[in-house]
Symmetry: D2
Amino acid sequence: MKKIILLAHCPDKPGIVARITNFILERQGNALNLEQYVDAKDNIFFMRLVCEFENKPEILNNIKVQFQSIASDLQMQWQLYDPNKKPKMALFVSKYSHCLYDILGRFSSGDLPIEIPIIISNHTDMEVVANRFEIPFACIPVSKANKAEAEEKQQALLQEYKIDFIVLARYMQILSKDFTEKFPNQIINIHHSFLPAFPGAKPYHSAHRKGVKIIGATSHYVTSDLDEGPIIEQDIVKVSHNNSISDFIAKGKDVEKIVLSRAIKHHVNRKILVYKNKTIIFD
Amino acid sequence: MKKIILLAHCPDKPGIVARITNFILERQGNALNLEQYVDAKDNIFFMRLVCEFENKPEILNNIKVQFQSIASDLQMQWQLYDPNKKPKMALFVSKYSHCLYDILGRFSSGDLPIEIPIIISNHTDMEVVANRFEIPFACIPVSKANKAEAEEKQQALLQEYKIDFIVLARYMQILSKDFTEKFPNQIINIHHSFLPAFPGAKPYHSAHRKGVKIIGATSHYVTSDLDEGPIIEQDIVKVSHNNSISDFIAKGKDVEKIVLSRAIKHHVNRKILVYKNKTIIFD
Amino acid sequence: MKKIILLAHCPDKPGIVARITNFILERQGNALNLEQYVDAKDNIFFMRLVCEFENKPEILNNIKVQFQSIASDLQMQWQLYDPNKKPKMALFVSKYSHCLYDILGRFSSGDLPIEIPIIISNHTDMEVVANRFEIPFACIPVSKANKAEAEEKQQALLQEYKIDFIVLARYMQILSKDFTEKFPNQIINIHHSFLPAFPGAKPYHSAHRKGVKIIGATSHYVTSDLDEGPIIEQDIVKVSHNNSISDFIAKGKDVEKIVLSRAIKHHVNRKILVYKNKTIIFD
Amino acid sequence: MKKIILLAHCPDKPGIVARITNFILERQGNALNLEQYVDAKDNIFFMRLVCEFENKPEILNNIKVQFQSIASDLQMQWQLYDPNKKPKMALFVSKYSHCLYDILGRFSSGDLPIEIPIIISNHTDMEVVANRFEIPFACIPVSKANKAEAEEKQQALLQEYKIDFIVLARYMQILSKDFTEKFPNQIINIHHSFLPAFPGAKPYHSAHRKGVKIIGATSHYVTSDLDEGPIIEQDIVKVSHNNSISDFIAKGKDVEKIVLSRAIKHHVNRKILVYKNKTIIFD
């Protein structure tokens, strides 16, 4: 049997699920897990469907084309995924290692169904980590002066390695509008605050100054608005008056890496739909 | 329009969702929220479906009968609910007020779509609370000697008030097997520990002796096995070495009342299916 | 034996603890729980000390005066509390009942060592709740035009009932600078967001628009800067894409009431020191 | 200046803090952070004190001897630590890498003030990880037949590398009573359940069978009673009916590694006292 994942949304009207599940049934498929809901305000139908078919080319090869005729009729935006095909992820890092180690540890032990063809950094600090895990490392320094040129080099690498999506694992440069618009909902960032509190630089310092009792981290898709893209996952940890800024940073690191890795998992397991700068996560 | 909630499970096979959604479509209904999943191990199909139909008697009156023919064919166990019909809940209490106040506060402010025709207790302590909220209170003392007789009186009241389900809000008596079997998955209990840790009496004392760093509460449906029924909801709170047993009890009360109220909400919103002593919660 | 709680802070220098504990020892007292820490950045010494003395007037009557000479020498700001004396709390409410029920439930069952002589509201909605718990209720409507006059009436009541501190249990008016400065660190507010995210009005609406995955609540002392006073306690709850604004509000209510009650407990148990718009909580 | 950490407990009586802080003052020292509390039930005084002295040998060299005379008088059990001296930690592993990677990642980036002279395993699987971080790896297979002999080899290594404490990072063998008694409160284990629920083997399988809604992890000191030693740290993560056993394992791994690393930090920062099979954690 062959599994397929469908993510789709369209204007709601009666009979959409019936039509899709009939389509599957006619091809001797079976729905294993269907989650659907209607946004009442905008009247939009959202669906994630895992189904399986017999592994016969005459069925599978035609599904995409045949489904398109239903989808056009429903004005549906949709995507079919093969859960057995590992997406290729590029890692962007700067000087911090905690998210990088966390991702590479999971990757090494087979817990993340991805390939990591390349790690790109604007500094050389993380080269030793890349080497430990035997992953190609490219250092592309970025300055105000060379930013456009540096992004060109980055994008050449992404193309060369046929990268499907990008993870900014505490990458400390802001990508240009031009760059981010080439990868809509394909760049995942981890921001070290509970957004929308403390966007921008040095959020732990701001949190400490403010005297908050909880700090957090936020993973989100990157858009051209800094720290404003669709939020994927957030989590928090308690802090107290006797925690220094370095305690905030140390506690925060643990949240950052877990929150980023959860976002990567949701992304590669095709559990995320984006609609109007918000995520629908079928979990 | 008229909303209906369907909870159902049956042996899995291809085409179940198609069949049900076709059924709805044929009656000009619309699926608003469908959640379905297949237990791979036991090959069981589970579904919660919220759908709406035009509010016409010729449609609504026949749905139950017509759906039964599909259901029989699929060997489906199912239940249709009208979300606008408020279920009648009986509250059983003893001497603690925190869960009782929490439930009655929510009820009074319209946050719980239920009716509470009766509060039953084996002690008189909570009568003052019942009076404050103007809810009938029945004191039925329970002892070893009179237990069977007391349960008869309780059940007479449940019948008189046409009770749909029962909530044990820190009721400190054990219901007989005979009693619990009359209300399968219709009695919700709150146990003041993180089950299966510390079942039975005085869990906070045991937790304190053990030196745990987290305490919890568990709401579950009551079966004839004490503290062994299907778990609905659990939550925890951190404790430390400088918390006394009374601190455990005070912190625990806050978790107990929240966990119990969440379970009641899930129950009355028809989000719970029970299968093989476990709950499926469509949330 | 007679317990006393001391909260104190002063510029740090060697020997402060020794001096204070010697003071206690000379009066045959015993330190039961001492927590002390030094803010390294500002070089400030903070301390909470629970100690007990024999219940003899010749000891207790003189302690305050005698301790003042040490305190002056150390430039110490300090406060002695008698844990057996219940502080008098005024409750300010508007139209929401969840925090009010939560506080009154705890109060009724003896879980809060306070007195509640008066509930003040700008609306009549909560009068029924006050009546249920037999607590005097004063309705003082507030409008732009009569605000100064209304606050005068409120303050007259606070004086009449010898109020020690005020809790704004979802009171929906902003107190004037004049009012708040009369009660420094004696007015506790609950704000229904995870501050500094979403200050001001309608935070759940803003959170929903933003698509956050976690919502929160913040209790803080009120200063003349709206939602900017020293934070006492914060907590959060997870939300998802399929939660509506009313789901946010319902889930948020549970966090609000718990976070507010924890702040009240910390306050009445004398666990809070305020320094430079931040709280030190000895917990 | 030179920092020193004192952990101590003794029968309570008036004047202990005064005596100790006088002792510090007489040597021109300063208390930076003092936490003290009295277990009311057993009448035991517990204290953690961070203090600093001028870095003069005539002060520091004599402190231990001079303090012993106070300690003897108070029947105090105590330990002085130099926070700048990194303890030597041995890591025991078997086949799982998540805790190992987490610890080594922190270690590599300087977040853990320890040395790791040796990783010991009963399998060869983790040798590649040890090599990546350039840490000596010893494979000592363990079977029923050779257990005593294997432990002798392990202990020879511990002696050779002058190991101060041991971390069992999902080491899947049970240490003998003889072994554990040689390292009282110096062996930290991570158990993959929320103890006392699900001790022993395969806790995630048991948790899944039981249908719990929360799973957890527990770090504790190892004693001769399996999974019964003093608990250091616990945390949890929510699970739902649609999580398989492998989902439980995947979610649990994240909790295990965080909970184990927190325990290691508490241990090396000298924040833990053990008394009567419970920990006092000054955090």
